[in-house]
């Protein structure tokens, strides 16, 4: 069983609010990812990190930002949420080589 956790599982907030989605893993993985996924649809990579103080933008442009101050923690922040941000956000981690990703359960965000 993978040790990667996301909080909250569900979040409903109003437009314009600032939010932070939390992601923590206890496996010591250097690589971490954030994906955005609409229900039953493909995963879009929005951010990834190779390790502490390393962050890169993914293939899908996103207004969110990330930070990697500690190996185990990779939070995602939206400064001003909009209805277009409504989606499921999945965090994952992997070892440097091999690429197999372990996913959290996701945060389903609804912006009203």
């Amino acid at each position: 069983e993978a040790d990667i956790y996301q909080t909250p599982r569900y979040l409903v907030i109003g437009t314009g609010k600032k939010i932070t989605l939390e992601c923590s893993q206890t496996m010591g993985h250097d690589k971490m990812y954030w994906y955005q996924q609409d229900p039953g649809m493909e995963l879009h990579l929005i951010h990834y990190s190779y390790g502490v103080n390393s962050t890169e933008k993914g293939d899908l442009s996103s207004e969110s930002t990330v930070s990697r101050i500690r190996t185990e923690h990779f939070p995602l922040t939206l400064e001003s949420a909009r209805p277009s941000h409504t989606s499921q956000y999945l965090c994952a981690s992997s070892v440097i080589r091999g690429g197999e990703a372990f996913f959290g359960q996701g945060t389903r965000l609804t912006v009203v």
Binding site: L45, G99, E100, Q105
Partner: protein
């Protein structure tokens, strides 16, 4: 951006039938993974293939990696309702020009939504 095309995108079959899902790309991957995702959950890794021509079996599931490491297939024998879910392939490849150790990025296909009816 490297693309992984999966086909079919949707499949609804009866219990006991066999099926094959394809994952194709014009890019070469150092490894390819298959994941299964249930509604409301994150994807869970099923298998990783790394060698061209490799075949792996997991109970009723058979995975094959193409000789050129550009494509893969997943074959399910005697499908059961518990197999219902979204099947995703993902490829790992080195980033061109990157000097970062282990700069592999994981790219996902669009997935195949499987429904197995009792």
């Amino acid at each position: 951006t490297q693309l992984l095309e999966q086909s079919p995108q949707f499949l609804s079959i009866q219990e006991g039938e066999n099926l094959t899902v394809y994952c194709n790309s014009s890019s070469v991957f150092s490894s390819l993974q298959w994941y299964r995702q249930e509604p409301g959950e994150g994807p869970v890794l099923l298998v990783t293939v790394v060698t061209g021509g490799e075949v792996k079996k997991l109970k009723r599931l058979t995975f094959q990696f193409g000789d050129a490491r550009k494509d893969s297939s997943l074959h399910i024998t005697a499908a059961q309702p518990g197999d219902t879910g979204l099947y995703l392939c993902a490829g790992a490849s080195e980033q061109r020009g990157s000097t970062v150790r282990g700069s592999e990025k994981l790219v996902f296909g669009k997935g195949m939504k499987l429904t197995v009816n009792p």
